[in-house]
């Protein structure tokens, strides 16, 4: 007996309807339908060993003889939470399609479940239909390196072969990069299957080189550093003999050489410096030439001009000494070799130091988990994290990293989120809570459903935001930028003027003095130090912020934050937790019920109410371990309260009006209630069987560290204002607790921005701290908008700065980071300005008339090389910045 490769039926080869030979094997078919299908695409049926084909498991591809219909779950990207209009559009598009039996769209999980007839349609068609409706199917894209592929015709074969694998949506092979790019549904095929298809054609696969962007830059830096160091060593070694011949009067044996020997040695030096010019300093000349073609000039131009002029003059001087006046025909090849050696060394050190400035981002990228344990079709699979799809269920064990963002389905644990939020204590998580990718699961095991993968995860967004911000411009850099735009041509003109002045008015030999000073001017000027001053500090400062859970969107935000004089804090959710909690329980004196019983009864009544205050009471009862019985005859009286029967007793909860309505004698409870209200709490009277039983108060409580953070803001000389839509009494109660200077109460949400504007009109730089959704206009209005991020939602549009950890301490740290970074930038800028403003005139010989001192071009080269290294090193000092509220 053999198996029909199409339907899987066991048949006798003798009685088979037809047979086909394909790739050296003979296949038998039960029916015309099967053989026709095979003929259309033989390869898809013989990809796997016919003996091992698991027909039941291939339901997704549709060839199950027992089940006519197949079902597939496809992740759909771009569905809104409510599902409209996406769900309807996709349904319409699919229903028009032949062979579709049923479409169910689950917008919460972002998935489409499609039941279809595999005889009539295929997964690829379904995916295309969804794409046509304007939505994308969540597929993975993977690059696979193919070793030694050179023949263009093989490309076609491999592409076709890959395309026939079920679940592959598209494949293309690039012969230039020797890589295949494959788009596929990771639910249906695996990487190893893709690799196998390529290897089937006799090629070896490898990890694609474009898959390691993080290391790539580092590798490029390393390569550049090594190449610069090689250049440096060659220039240094050659500098030694060249220096000896340049100062013959100081060197014992050479001192006694005759003029002829010395002249011969100078020719030697001329030849020796050629490799220095070509190899060690070649990039200055090519760079200068390339810039020249763009009618621009940069540091390369200066170095190339300086060393080039020195070499040309020296060579002319030793070959035809007659054309120059007596005593000026001495070469200075030493300038060529030594200056190139020093500047190249400076560049190498700069690259090293620069690498350290982006350490923060490297650390962030390194947090990403490599693999995820996904449960598909009831099986646990360890797959690379790139293959995880939205709606996948992922198992996480204690001590493991959470691979992507999601929501816990079952289980609970404590999660260490310190790497992202700076929050040092582990956060407890239970079913329904959000987990963030790259955080560390501590104690328990749980399963969660992926909600964000790839570039949508919180970590990926953080990395992107930080990178963008690091490369943005601070307004303070504008001046430096404008200056460096004119800098190099100005220096060139100054060099020309220097030469002319020395030639016309200088002491003899004028030609040598003129040339040496002009070359010194070209070499000492350092546009790089100016250009590097801001970006390097910005890199470190913004990275430092990210390490402490503060995402600064741009250099501009960072610069503005240093000058903040007033901080406006939204009350709900910013100063307070934003969720009411049960705070007080008062039992009436004459009552026999205990506090616990009072709460139990009240919570029972509220258990079917949907009011947020009711939730707080129920939650409070549950945390005290009370079990609630079911209320009967529940009635909500708008503007008054609620009433119900619990365990045979009539229990009423509500305000004063409610109690009056029931004719309840309150006694001293009324004054107690006023006291609670004055503290900003919401008191509710409880009556049992029309007898006053007590008061239950709930309040939105203050976050533990709000008071401390506000105190530090005061110490920093910053006025703290609270803004809220709440009534003045509640607002002032909270303000007293945390020590806020000014309270703006009863402000309608739409008026918050206006109030921020009024504060700005007082002439102060105002920062607004809010939640990013309701406060968006106020955040945008403020000079700096700080949004408190919650969970995985970090890219808040309206904000300049996002505080990942929901604490006000972040505001303090943000201002501290800003102040420290700006101080560093100013040091760099001032240093670079002073260096150039002093260095250039000294090189021109400004000191010569007074002290007779002239700067040697060698010293100019050393000064130039180390000025930019100093700037980068100073920026690196910021790495040791520690915020007042240390994260770890």
């Amino acid at each position: 007996m053999v198996k029909d490769p199409v339907c899987g039926m066991e048949i006798d080869p003798q009685s088979a309807f037809a047979s086909r030979e394909h790739m050296g094997n003979v296949y038998y078919f039960c029916s015309e339908n099967c053989v026709n299908q095979f003929d259309r695409n033989p390869h898809s049926f013989v990809m796997q060993n016919p003996e091992k084909v698991d027909f039941a498991g291939s339901a997704t591809t549709g060839f199950n003889p027992n089940l006519r219909l197949s079902e597939i779950e496809l992740p759909v990207i771009g569905l809104k939470k409510g599902g409209q209009p996406g769900a309807e559009l996709i349904k319409q598009a699919l229903n028009k399609h032949p062979g579709i039996e049923k479409v169910v769209i689950n917008p919460i999980e972002g998935a489409a479940v499609v039941r279809f007839d595999p005889q009539e349609t295929g997964v690829l068609d379904i995916v295309n239909a969804i794409k046509e409706s304007g939505y994308k199917v969540g597929s993975a894209q993977k690059q696979i390196g193919i070793e030694g592929i050179h023949c263009a015709s093989c490309v076609q074969f491999i592409e076709n072969d890959l395309a026939t694998i079920p679940g592959v949506l598209g494949a293309s092979v690039n012969i230039g990069t020797q890589e295949a790019t494959i788009e596929y549904l990771p639910e249906q095929t695996t990487l190893s299957q893709l690799n196998a298809a390529i290897e089937g054609w006799g090629y070896k696969t490898r990890v694609a080189s474009s898959d390691q962007p993080a290391d790539q830059q580092e590798a490029a830096h390393d390569k550049e550093y090594r190449s610069l160091m090689n250049k440096f060593w060659l220039a240094t070694i050659i500098s030694i003999p060249v220096l000896l011949t340049a100062y013959p009067q100081f060197i014992p044996i050479i001192r006694d050489w005759s003029m002829e020997t010395l002249r011969a040695a100078w020719f030697g030096a001329a030849l020796l410096t050629i490799p220095v010019l070509i190899y060690s300093g070649g990039h200055f000349f090519t760079g200068a030439w390339a810039a020249l073609k763009h009618r621009s000039a940069n540091m390369n131009t200066l170095i190339a001009l300086g060393t080039g002029a020195a070499w040309l003059y020296s060579t002319v001087a030793i070959t035809i000494p007659g054309i120059f006046p007596e005593g000026t025909s001495e070469p200075f090849y030493d300038v060529v070799a030594v200056v190139i050696a020093l500047v190249v060394l400076g560049q190498a050190l700069e690259i090293r130091a620069k690498g350290r400035t982006s350490e923060a981002i490297k650390k962030l990228m390194g947090l990403q988990a490599k693999t995820a344990r996904v449960i598909r079709n009831g099986q646990e699979l360890d797959i690379p994290v790139e293959e995880v799809l939205v709606a996948d269920v992922i198992q996480v064990r204690p001590g493991e990293k959470i691979p992507v963002d999601g929501v816990i389905l079952e289980g609970s644990s404590a999660v260490d989120e310190s790497m992202l939020t700076g929050e040092s204590l582990p956060v407890s998580k239970k079913t329904g809570d959000e987990v963030i990718g790259a955080t560390l699961n501590k104690t328990g095991a749980f399963k969660f459903r992926a909600t964000k993968v790839g570039k949508d995860t919180a970590l990926a967004q953080i990395v992107k935001m930080v990178q963008d911000a690091q490369n943005s411009k601070a307004p303070i850099a504008r001046l430096a930028d404008t200056i460096s735009g004119y800098f190099v041509p100005v220096v060139m003109i100054l060099a020309v003027i220097t030469f002319v002045i020395w030639f016309d008015f200088g002491p003899a030999p004028q030609l040598v003095y003129g040339l040496v000073t002009a070359v010194s001017v070209l070499i000492i000027a350092c546009p790089c130090a100016l250009g590097l001053a801001t970006p390097m500090s910005l890199m470190v400062g913004i990275g430092k912020g990210a390490e402490n859970g503060i995402l600064i969107r741009s250099g501009e935000a960072l610069q503005t934050a240093q000058g903040i004089k007033t901080v406006v804090l939204d009350k709900t959710g910013t100063i307070t937790k934003g969720k009411p909690e049960l705070t007080d329980l008062i039992v009436a004196d004459q009552q026999s019920v205990t506090g616990e019983e009072l709460l139990r009864l009240a919570a029972a009544v509220e258990s079917i109410s949907e009011h947020p205050l009711a939730e707080a009471i129920v939650e409070g009862a549950k945390t005290r371990g009370l079990s609630l019985s079911k209320p009967e005859a529940f009635e909500a009286i708008p503007g008054h309260g609620v009433i119900a029967t619990v365990e045979g007793r009539q229990v009423a909860l509500g305000n004063l009006k409610m109690m009056q309505r029931l004719n309840v004698e309150l006694g001293d409870l009324e004054s107690k209630s006023d006291t609670l209200a004055n503290d900003g709490k919401t008191p509710m009277f409880v009556a049992v069987n029309s007898q006053a039983a007590g008061i239950i108060a709930v309040a939105d409580t203050v976050k533990e560290d709000s008071k401390e953070a506000i105190a530090v803001l005061h110490k920093m000389g910053i006025e703290v204002v609270m803004i809220t839509g709440d009534n003045r009494r509640t607002a002032e109660a909270i303000a007293r607790q945390v020590g806020v200077d000014r309270v703006l109460a009863e402000v309608l949400p739409e008026d918050k921005a206006h109030n921020v504007h009024l504060l700005q009109a007082e002439g102060k730089k105002v920062a607004m701290v809010g939640d990013g959704i309701n406060d968006a206009p106020a955040l945008a209005q403020a000079d700096v908008g700080l949004a408190i991020g919650t969970g995985t939602d970090v890219a808040i549009e309206a904000s300049d700065i996002t505080l990942i950890k929901g604490s006000l301490k972040g505001v303090v740290t943000a201002i501290e980071v800003s102040r420290a970074t700006m101080r560093n930038i100013r040091q760099n800028l001032v240093g670079a300005f002073i260096y150039n403003v002093l260095g250039v005139p000294i090189a021109m010989g400004a000191l010569f008339p007074f002290f007779g001192v002239l700067l040697s071009p060698l010293l100019a080269g050393a000064a130039m090389a180390f000025s930019s290294v100093t700037v980068v090193s100073n920026a690196n000092r910021l790495r040791s910045f520690h915020p007042k509220f240390s994260a770890k």
Binding site: A220, K223, R295, S296, N298, I351, Q467, K473, D504, C528
Partner: protein, 125 residues
């Protein structure tokens, strides 16, 4: 002054004027980009000692796609910045990198490397 000093002085002055003219005053070539069939304005830019082309004229309101290819290893040019658009891109040597955005407002916007050694200009009309 000797005649040779006068010659040197005159040559020096002429050279200074030439430098100022060459780098600042002379008109630079502009590259005008027009949108293709897809409605995207597309331009390939080579990065080697400078941006080629370095002055790019585009239309406002149409998406712009710039394909940067860096053909040098000098560390300076490894990042290209469009500060006015808050865009930046790392340019690994020899690899084509796309920078895409839609310039909405007419005006002149500079783009440059991180240190400002290489500069280009985007003119939006």
């Amino acid at each position: 002054m000797t005649p040779i000093q006068i010659v040197v002085t005159l040559v020096g002055i002429a050279l200074s004027i030439f430098i100022a003219w060459f780098f600042w005053l002379a008109p630079k070539g502009q590259t005008r980009i027009s949108a293709g069939v897809s409605g995207v304005q597309e331009v390939a830019i080579t990065v080697k000692g400078g941006y080629t082309p370095d002055i790019i004229v585009v239309k406002a309101g149409q998406p712009l796609r710039m394909r940067f290819t860096r053909q040098e290893s000098a560390g300076c040019s490894e990042t290209v910045l469009f500060p006015d658009f808050n865009q930046s891109a790392k340019l690994p040597e020899g690899e084509e990198v796309l920078v895409e955005f839609t310039p909405e407002k007419a005006g002149e916007y500079g783009f440059q490397c991180q240190m400002g050694m290489l500069r280009g200009k985007l003119i939006v009309e």
